[in-house]
């Protein structure tokens, strides 16, 4: 890969991590001393994606705002990598009027028509709409693609299988991405299916499937490149499974008492791994124009600006609570 491309992947990953760390801080800041899920500036459930940056960065590097992404209940990394407006996304997470959904949706329900981004809190249910977006792209004779994301736990749900079958049948330009972080809340992958890789399941529907081990952003980038090129060329869907890592709890407040792999988790953090790799290759430096520190500082500035924007935006007026149930025509 070209140094610029590699730097691009690294920047995206750093931006995502910086964002998630800031949300983590904001989320917990006002829930103390006793954790109260309904209290604070960001109430409700919070599923953060730290550790899964390589998947979003590697896949979305191939997309433009014309391509669609349907993400899961853990959507921030894909939203950021796909270029969803950081300020309006943050305002939504804070439940403010300038949010993507004017405060109606929240962190699991981010909708951005500008980048064709959406997500859902219902497991696997983002797959079928992605198939429909791909159908629209195909009908209109474009080379646009739809990317649908789930976790490995979701791959055991019906919608996953029906969507794969339909997309294969109609040869639609959709790329199915499975983030295998080993856990579906407290249920390990080994207790949820006997299939060793969801790439094998793709074969069951007559489409290519590839599993990327070791959470490598460049390997994801390569696999996604093949799948997306194929989709754009009208050759139909593919599936990519990435063996990634849930660095933190399923949601914030999750004590992870069930988790048997925690000890090795920090050592598998993909961010320092990639940083080391880029330093060794002479792509990242500690001095000069583009440094580790300057990339980190830029990310911090953007994230801080987004959080400032969110906090400045007013809360919605209760008198508007019944708005937007129906479109006005």
């Amino acid at each position: 890969m070209e140094p610029d491309e590699r730097l691009g992947l690294y920047r995206t990953m750093v931006l995502i991590r910086t964002y998630e760390e800031s949300i983590l801080r904001e989320y917990h800041a006002d829930k103390k001393p006793a954790f109260d899920i309904g209290a604070g500036l960001i109430p409700g459930e919070m599923h953060l994606s730290a550790g899964q940056e390589p998947v979003a960065a590697g896949v979305c590097a191939h997309l433009t705002a014309d391509d669609a992404v349907t993400a899961t209940h853990r959507p921030h990394h894909f939203a950021i990598a796909h270029g969803v407006d950081l300020e309006r996304m943050t305002a939504e997470i804070f439940g403010r009027v300038d949010g993507l959904g004017r405060g109606r949706g929240g962190h699991m329900h981010l909708f951005d028509p500008a980048t064709h981004f959406s997500c859902s809190g219902i497991i696997a249910e983002g797959y079928p709409p992605a198939v429909g977006q791909a159908l629209a792209f195909q009908r209109r004779g474009t080379d646009r693609v739809a990317v649908a994301v789930t976790g490995e736990g979701a791959a055991n749900q019906g919608a996953f299988h029906e969507a794969l079958n339909l997309a294969a049948l109609w040869k639609l330009p959709v790329v199915f991405v499975v983030e295998d972080n080993d856990w579906g809340i407290s249920v390990p992958r080994s207790a949820s299916t006997c299939v060793t890789s969801n790439a094998l399941r793709a074969g069951g529907y007559g489409i290519p499937g590839e599993r990327v081990e070791d959470n490598s952003v460049e390997a994801v980038h390569a696999a996604a490149g093949t799948a997306i090129t194929r989709a754009r060329a009208g050759e139909g869907p593919s599936l990519i499974e990435v063996h990634t890592l849930r660095l933190w709890g399923h949601f914030e407040g999750d004590a992870q008492g069930y988790r048997s792999d925690l000890e090795g988790v920090p050592g598998r953090d993909p961010l320092p791994t990639y940083e080391k790799q880029l330093r060794a290759a002479g792509v990242l430096h500690d001095s000069g124009d583009i440094t580790v520190a300057s990339i980190a500082a830029q990310a911090r500035d953007r994230v801080e600006a987004a959080i400032e924007f969110a906090k400045r935006s007013p809360e919605p007026d209760p008198a508007t609570a019944l708005d937007h149930v129906f479109a006005r025509s």
Binding site: R104, H109, G153, S186, E315, T320
Partner: protein
């Protein structure tokens, strides 16, 4: 979210208090001890102990043969519970949020709820389907619904929703022993969870040993003479709080806790409205075509002359539950909305 639950009281067993969650688990455990055919299955019901602590400790006590973590395959595992029930077992199957039932609704309303009827009464489906309901903590439109009206609308399943620890135990015991499918909906806000703002009545006295609350019997939790407030689940507590407050202003509310939506205890409602002449229904489910309309209709059908003022309803006004707190609290049946509705009735 498995923080330690400090709700168990250290007081003498006679007045021991439990959280609603613990009372529910106690009922399941006692029935599992009593009957080998009772078993538990669902997502995160094992090592995690249920996202809302509805199965905490059962895995340790009964092992993985009787407490089964399932994959995220709701159609399959709820369907499997139906099959096991048809063969005479008594599964308690959990789907953590009621909002998720959409992905497996066919198994519920076309199979679980219809097999007994379609078999001409020859096959029974003795299972309990549990799920968490309700909002109030900004969990958004896909994680905050109640939906009991949806289940109640579709014939063939009983639907219960306890408001307090003792009822949680009694209704669970009755549900497990019932030969029908029972949908048991527990509001997150009454469970006494360590990570939620505590409702002061979410921890309360619970009888030891066998304790049954009959399904289909409402409870007059506060007698009063001016207005009947018919409600269920978390809203019972809001109604009681409002009633205590309004008593100081000379307004005497009777509060009826439905406990069971199907069957609906119409007699208790009519008796109460007969005495007060005024009816307010408070429902955390959507307003239209649901429980609140049904109750008003039953009173109107039986004897519209019972009402001295037109009946009133406080429910979610047909909008998905919004995320932002000011919007969510504008649509939930808050104490403030209940108070205004009661005053509207007595001043009508």
């Amino acid at each position: 979210m498995t923080l330690t639950d400090a709700s168990a009281s250290s007081s003498a067993p006679a007045q021991r208090k439990l959280s609603t969650a613990k009372a529910m688990v106690e009922a399941i455990a006692q029935e599992m001890e009593r009957d080998e055919d009772v078993f538990v299955l669902g997502e995160d019901v094992g090592a995690y102990g249920g996202i809302f602590s509805s199965t905490t400790g059962l895995l340790e006590k009964f092992g993985p043969r009787r407490v089964l973590d399932t994959p995220i395959s709701e159609t399959a595992f709820i369907g499997a519970a139906i099959g096991a029930a048809v063969e005479g077992m008594r599964p308690v199957v959990e789907l953590m949020f009621v909002d998720f039932f959409g992905v497996c609704m066919d198994q519920i309303y076309n199979h679980m709820a219809k097999i007994h009827f379609e078999s001409g009464g020859n096959v029974t489906v003795p299972m309990v389907l549990t799920a968490a309901v309700g909002g109030g903590y900004s969990d958004g439109a896909q994680h905050s619904q109640c939906l009991w009206g949806t289940f109640a609308h579709l014939p063939g399943m009983k639907v219960v929703a306890p408001s307090n620890p003792a009822d949680a135990k009694g209704l669970m015991t009755a549900a497990i022993r019932d030969d029908n499918p029972v949908v048991y909906l527990f509001h997150k806000g009454v469970m006494g969870l360590p990570w939620m703002a505590k409702n002061r009545r979410s921890v309360g006295p619970v009888p030891e040993g066998e304790h049954l609350v009959p399904i289909g019997k409402a409870n007059v939790v506060r007698p009063g003479s001016d207005v009947t407030v018919v409600t269920l689940s978390l809203s019972v507590h809001h109604a009681l709080d409002v009633a205590e407050e309004l008593a100081q202003q000379g307004v005497d509310c009777e509060v009826v806790d439905l406990r069971s939506v199907v069957p609906l205890d119409t007699e208790t409602i009519l008796d109460s409205v007969g005495r007060t002449g005024r009816l307010l229904v408070v429902d955390e489910d959507y307003l239209s075509f649901g429980v609140s309309g049904e109750i008003v209709a039953r009173v109107a059908e039986r004897d519209p002359g019972l009402l001295r003022a037109p009946a009133a309803r406080v429910a979610v006004p047909d909008v998905p539950i919004p995320y932002a707190r000011p919007l969510e609290y504008a649509v939930l049946p808050t104490p403030d909305r209940i108070r205004r509705a009661v005053l509207g009735l007595v001043n009508a």
